[in-house]
Amino acid sequence: MSFFTRRRIRNASLLVLALAGIVWWVRAREQTLDSSALGTGYLLLAAVFFLASYNVRKKLPFLPLGGSTAWLQWHIYVGIGTVGVFALHARTAWPSGWLEALLAVTFYLTVGSGLVGLYLTRTIPPQLARVSDEITYERIPAFRRQVRRQAEEVVLESVAASGATTLADFYTARLYGFFAGARGWRYLVRPTSALRRALMREMQDVRRYLSEQEQIGCERLFTLVRRKDDLDFHDARQKVLKLWLFGHIGLTYALVLLAVLHGLLAHAFHGGVA
């Protein structure tokens, strides 16, 4: 059993135990006809604050507040645990009242985005690792420009050397747009190698019409197409990871605000149930 599997089992067991304890406490309160809403509400609020404080910890690397790995593990399991506490607190999936409904939607979206993030952070890195070089996200636009410049040089050189324009025509018709910039949103959501394969196939088809000089240029274009596709892939996948985090943090701040507001209102209108 790997280290990570052992860790997963240990943390999940702790979570189940903690949730069982909370359920037991809520039942005990209810048997004595006490309300558990205030208790679970505070617990939920504390959990939300704790989850949001992870981002603060990240900004303070010079304070000995514990490793980020441990924080992330707590963040994940406390985050999952809040779903159970939320259920105990709200008693319904869809509370009435516009503030409560908005709070519930924000909560679901935050938890949902967290789970999506967990999936993305575990699945995207191996995909990136399989692609040739390690590429720094911030440098991708510069690399793209470089690849495009190189591709144009290859075409111009082959026209100058051979006097033929077959490769140049093909470039203008099929490759110019590919080298011109980033791929669209569809590729962002679901990057595939379909375009790369299609372009390679077309280049293979056009090869037999090329002069010897142009064939040399075509070989170099093959490499540049591959490089550009790798850049696009890294760009898309890394962008998804960044956008996801951006969204998750934004939702967290909204959740903190709404939860505090809900708490204040709950206290203001708390009638003191017998």
Binding site: S2, F3, F4, T5, K58, K59, L60, P61, F62, L63, P64, G67, S68, T69, W71, L72, T121, I124, P125, P126, L128, A129, D133, E134, T136, Y137, Q238, L241, L245
Partner: protein, 577 residues
């Protein structure tokens, strides 16, 4: 001749001489000892004694209190006193006195104060350092273009510590230069002194051709270090004193590879694995009759076995490890000759002690006696704990990984930064944490050579052989005696870039510094920016330990001592999960 080729003179050894020696200086040297007694005819025409003195030596003039060598420095040269006297300080000097003050670990209060006290701009310094008045224990001055560091108030310092005076004709610093070990003592100019500094290549060539000098240097090593070194070897540590004495007398010294291995290594000198192995100097060849027990004194050696048309790496041997013992034991037990089962090659530069076969048979094996099996076990232990034996720790399929680590010389690292690309989300939390704790400028780049899903990031590895330390004129870059971390003292760094140019891993970056108001600091004389060398300091001053590792949320980044194979293999095993 084709237009694509331009004829230029082939680069030669002394194109870049060590100093500015004039013919008259060499004439003067050849009239004094020890050079007067050296037979110039023993040197080939391509490597004349005169040439060595012209190209591999330089004359330095020192004033009272000037530091010539500092304890703990890495040096690549030895010294001969030509005029005046120098003092070897016998006791360990306070690190502060040598300008090597440990950065104090921040307190909680100071750690929190970073929230508002850290500058917003990168690389802000309160002062340019070096001649900073706060730094009152050492000073620097310029001696014809060479930076000299001097100690204040030497007489009072020497009152407290014992010292030995060396006079004209005496040599010092040769062992550290030849064995690439840290200098064991500090040497200070005792008044005005003139010294001949000879770089190790020149000393090595003179030793090869001058038996008197070779014997002198070897005698010094035998007297001062060899016994200790033999005792440190697990196989020999409980041999009786008289046996160790005899073993020491019979031991031969050998060195393989290029002491300057880092000069032809680096990103621009990539080779494929087969070429790489073929280019490594052979120390022992598989199938040959053993000529002795080989003991690695310093550096790394690749142990490999023939496989098809190439060689498969099996292990790397480092300081204190032995090669060929099992063959000698087996041959002793069976009475038959057992050839070497593996080959041994120098990775970079290796110093080897060869204990002749007869000495092993007559002195070591009988004295191990009943404990021969135990000796074998002890060796196995060392191999496992100290170094890279793929058979026991890493599966044969990981031989490629071992080759990768050796070919890039990552074995040199004691705190190598490894990133598991299957877990790294490229979030750059590690980079931001490093910047937040280091003048808003990260001390590493999250890029580097890849092997499958493992990346060795471009961060200082705090090497076993920190070649960056060679030649620093002020000793600003030094290894911390307690933690082994290689650190740069920002206050004594004069920005000469020697360390950055020497580090084969390109882990040191020169940065332009600013004053707290944000303006870049420039040299008042030349108007050129003031530079400082920066690199990973392993977060020595931080309460958190390495901030990069601490900041990684995904267990993707780790600092690994490449000598701790168990740690490495455990981490590699984890990543599968």
């Amino acid at each position: 001749m084709s237009e694509l080729e331009i004829a230029v003179p082939r680069p030669r050894r002394w194109n870049e001489p060590f100093g500015e020696m004039a013919e008259a200086d060499v004439d003067a040297l050849l009239r004094i000892e020890p050079f007067r007694s050296i037979d110039a005819n023993a040197f080939p025409p391509s490597l004349p004694l005169r040439g060595i003195l012209l190209g591999d030596t330089r004359i330095g003039r020192y004033q009272a209190g000037d530091l010539i060598v500092r304890e703990g420095d890495y040096g690549h040269s030895a010294f001969l006193v030509l005029a005046g006297t120098v003092r070897v300080v016998l006791e360990r000097l306070d690190a502060k006195l040598l300008g090597r003050e440990e950065p104090p670990r921040r307190s909680w209060r100071q750690a929190i104060a970073q929230l508002w006290s850290n500058a917003k701009l990168p690389e802000v310094r309160a002062s340019a350092g070096a001649n900073d008045p706060a730094n009152d224990r050492v000073g620097t001055r310029d001696e014809s273009g060479t930076a000299r560091v001097f100690l204040q108030d030497v007489p009072r310092l020497l009152e407290k510590t014992g010292s030995v005076q060396l006079g004209v004709g005496e040599i010092f610093g040769e062992l550290a230069a030849l064995t690439r070990t840290p200098r064991t003592a500090t040497v200070i100019a005792d008044g005005r002194a003139t010294l001949l500094e000879i770089r190790w290549q020149g000393l090595r060539d003179i030793m090869r051709r001058s038996p008197a000098i070779r014997e002198h240097v070897e005698q010094l090593y035998r007297e001062n270090s060899l016994r200790v070194h033999l005792r440190e070897t697990p196989l020999l540590y409980d041999l009786p004193d008289n046996i160790i004495e005899q073993v020491a007398l019979a031991t031969e010294f050998e060195s393989y590879g290029n002491f300057d291995w880092y000069s032809d290594f680096g990103p621009n000198h990539a080779r494929d694995a087969t070429e790489q192995i073929a280019a490594e100097p052979l120390i022992a060849e598989e199938g040959d009759r053993p000529t002795g027990l080989l003991l690695i004194r310093s550096g790394f050696a690749r142990m490999s076995q023939r496989h098809g048309h190439g060689h498969r790496t099996l292990a790397y041997l480092g300081k204190g490890q032995v090669f060929g013992f099992s063959e000698l034991i087996e041959s002793h037990a069976t009475g038959e000759g057992v050839p070497w089962r593996h080959s041994l090659r120098a990775v970079g530069y290796v110093d080897v002690l060869r204990i002749p076969t007869e000495v092993v048979r007559e002195l070591i094996i009988p004295n191990c006696g009943l404990w021969i099996a135990d000796c074998g076990l002890r060796m196995q232990d060392t191999q496992q704990s100290a170094i890279r034996n793929p058979k026991s720790e890493i599966s044969a399929s990981d031989a490629r990984l071992l080759d990768f680590l050796a070919d890039h010389r990552f074995l040199n690292g004691t705190q190598t930064m490894l990133i598991n690309l299957d877990r790294c989300t490229r979030c750059d939390d590690c980079v931001r944490a490093c910047a937040a704790t280091h003048d808003n400028n990260p001390r590493f780049i999250r890029q580097g050579p890849k092997h499958d899903n493992l990346m060795v990031a471009n961060a200082c590895m705090h090497c076993v052989d920190p070649v960056c330390m060679i030649g620093c004129p002020t000793g600003a870059i030094a290894r911390d005696a307690n933690t082994g971390t290689v650190r740069i003292n920002d206050r004594t760094c004069i920005g000469c870039s020697t360390c950055a140019n020497s580090c084969p891993y390109e882990a040191i970056r020169m940065v332009e510094i600013r004053e707290p108001g944000g303006a870049f600091l420039v040299d008042e004389a030349t108007q050129q920016p003031i530079l400082k060398a920066t690199k990973c300091d392993f977060c020595a001053a931080q309460l958190t330990g390495p901030a990069c590792q601490n900041a990684c949320p995904h267990d993707a980044l780790v600092r690994v001592d490449m000598a701790n194979l168990t740690g490495l293999s455990q981490w590699l095993g984890r990543k599968a999960g």
